[in-house]
Subunit: 375 residues, 2 copies
């Protein structure tokens, strides 16, 4: 029996992308399916296997220097190239790009499968979400491609697959709560540690998180809460709550209004020490400690609260008892606590590293394997 051939097209070769390529290369070597990578593209240049014979994943970095071409136009030219492949194609979007995500429906309608850690397709306007799943085989289109996005929340942690299985098997989600950002986890585990001995000011804690590699180049991209809000939007939609977009519920930004206009992360970091907003956060920290608790930056979806999305979903600082699992989190770990009709007395809890190249890439490769198992 000759082995099945599946083609892989990878967009993005940054932190997650590089880890993914390494993992894919090792996986392909032992897989019973023959995997041929036919596209490996960065924003400006790409490796393209025009004859579909496959790119050598062990020499891709040096091949980029010697034989990269201009990146095919996206989506039209890329789509044409992938549609002409002599067999199934899996598109791996390792970017966080909104315009790549906007083209998912076209690729899925063409029968191309998509796996991605990119949150944008699943947390922007509900119309894009609806278009993606209307086009996807696992959304009901018999001729569509499969789409999986496990790593769009919690990286390699089995969060999305677990919520999907709970819902598919007839459970009813009552509450989802947790720390969804490695940055926010690291920041508050250091700023407001369990032992009450936090000695760093808030500005120092932000700088420390940046220096240790736990924030985006501009820390405001983490501290404004939008990343957590996007993850919550995804989980809410999977649980059956129609969240139109992230403007429909309260998000507590930790970026002071007058620093939103700072021209970059460096200017923001330079102006943060001594800023009066730090006192507000310090007051909340002290108030929490006075009641025997600590502050943590969390996201919450409480299906029983009110009747509207604005009542049910929220992102921001809250006080937790020191004995709670959320307070006891370490390092940059995420924790996701899911209360359902079946997991009612105590929640189902998933905890661990929720960011980082290898654990994110693993979530993406796991999704690619799911596609292979279904085609």
């Amino acid at each position: 029996m000759s082995s099945k051939v599946v083609h892989v097209a990878i967009i993005g070769a940054g932190g997650v992308g590089k880890c993914f390529i390494n993992q894919l290369s090792a996986f392909a070597a032992k897989s019973s399916v023959t995997l041929k990578t036919i596209l490996l593209s960065r924003s400006k240049t790409a490796l393209v296997s025009r004859d579909y014979s496959g790119i050598n994943l062990s020499t891709w970095e040096s091949d980029f220097a010697s034989s990269a071409v201009a990146t095919p136009a996206f989506p039209a030219e890329t789509l044409d190239f992938l549609k002409s492949a002599p067999g199934p194609v899996i598109l791996v979007d390792n970017t966080s790009n909104e315009s790549v995500a906007a083209a998912y429906p076209q690729f899925l309608n063409a029968g191309i499968h998509i796996v991605t850690p990119n949150k944008k397709g699943f947390s922007s306007g509900i119309q894009l979400w609806n278009d993606i799943f209307a086009a996807a085989k696992n959304g009901g289109n018999p001729n569509g491609g499969y789409v999986f996005h496990e790593a769009s929340c919690g990286a390699g942690l089995p969060v999305i697959s677990t919520i999907k299985e709970l819902v598919e098997t007839g459970d009813v989600i009552k509450k989802i709560e947790g720390v969804f950002s490695g940055t926010m986890s690291f920041l508050f585990n250091n700023y407001a540690p369990l032992d009450g001995k936090g000695t760093m000011g808030f500005a120092d804690a932000v700088k420390f998180a940046k220096d240790e590699g736990y924030t985006e180049p501009d820390p405001r991209d983490d501290l404004n809460g939008a990343d957590v809000a996007r993850k919550l939007t995804i989980l809410a939609r999977l649980s059956g709550l129609q969240v139109e977009d992230i403007t429909k519920f309260p998000i507590q930004s930790l970026v002071p209004a007058d620093l939103e206009s700072a021209k970059d992360g460096d200017e923001y970091l330079a102006k943060l020490p001594g800023h009066k907003s730090n006192d507000d956060i310090a007051e909340k920290k002290a108030a929490a400690e006075a009641q025997g608790g600590v502050i943590r930056y969390v996201g919450s979806i409480d299906f029983s609260a009110g009747s509207e999305v604005v009542d049910k979903v929220s992102v921001g600082l809250r006080t937790f008892d020191k004995t709670s699992p959320i307070a006891g989190l370490q390092g940059a770990d995420n924790i996701i606590s899911i209360t359902t009709e079946r997991y009612n007395k105590t929640p189902l809890v998933i905890q661990g590293a929720g960011a980082g190249g290898d654990v994110t890439a693993m979530g993406v490769l796991g999704d690619l394997i799911k596609v292979l198992q279904r085609i």
Copy 2:
């Protein structure tokens, strides 16, 4: 397009079985696949849909009274009946029966899929494990059926699927540790609570767990540690460690040697109060508390320890610091902590109810859905 038809054969209609039938019935009503239950068997009697048109799952309990027949002989007659079905068949083994598990290879070789919470097939001699996966499509036999057994450890918690995905994507498991028994969890959370105020003697705590429904009819079936050892055997094998059977590593039984011969659970419970073995356990509890810890009954696989299975795998009482997640467990929850090359600084942790009809049935139905997605 006419809907695909898949046949389901269910063995066992006890606690888990009943919950599964209810969940399957609700799932079938909304599934795009037409599911026909063609066999629903108890040890002596069964409902059999000889013409493969399907049993009515909403009236099965009363139908058992009116139209049950003698259970078809297992495996031969059952296998013949299922092989003749006009389409794919999923066998759901909701028993904990060793002889049912021993026949899995025959069913898988006939292309029949198996989903089950039954630990026996995966934790008995390694030969049966090897035979099962040699016969299964997801073990390499292109004509075999799929086999999934998520609920054989941690009920509906995503433990087995997570370990499989870690290994498949190239991670290396370094340590697995946790509380794998709802009974042991409940027993020690009450006997040795975190606040150090446990006032029950060990015999009272066992009786309390039994009265609250957290033990087998004969509590020795939980307290001898074999159930935890079977779960560890499954996880060890999935992680790449060839455990021949549960006799190959140390298991600390909490049943005193002279009570192993008690004729049943009632005699055991009657003789336990005042037994000297309770003093040994009380001593361990006091010693743990003197160091600021608590005792918990855990299973552990440490891949770095020694060179043999006997060094790496163990089951028994250990002392945990009060701040550890294992010490802080509540109710009858399970907790499984997985340290790997990727989840290295802090482990990946999964926690929640690990026993009970509905959460176990959910794990089985989730597996059935996995089969539907692959055929």
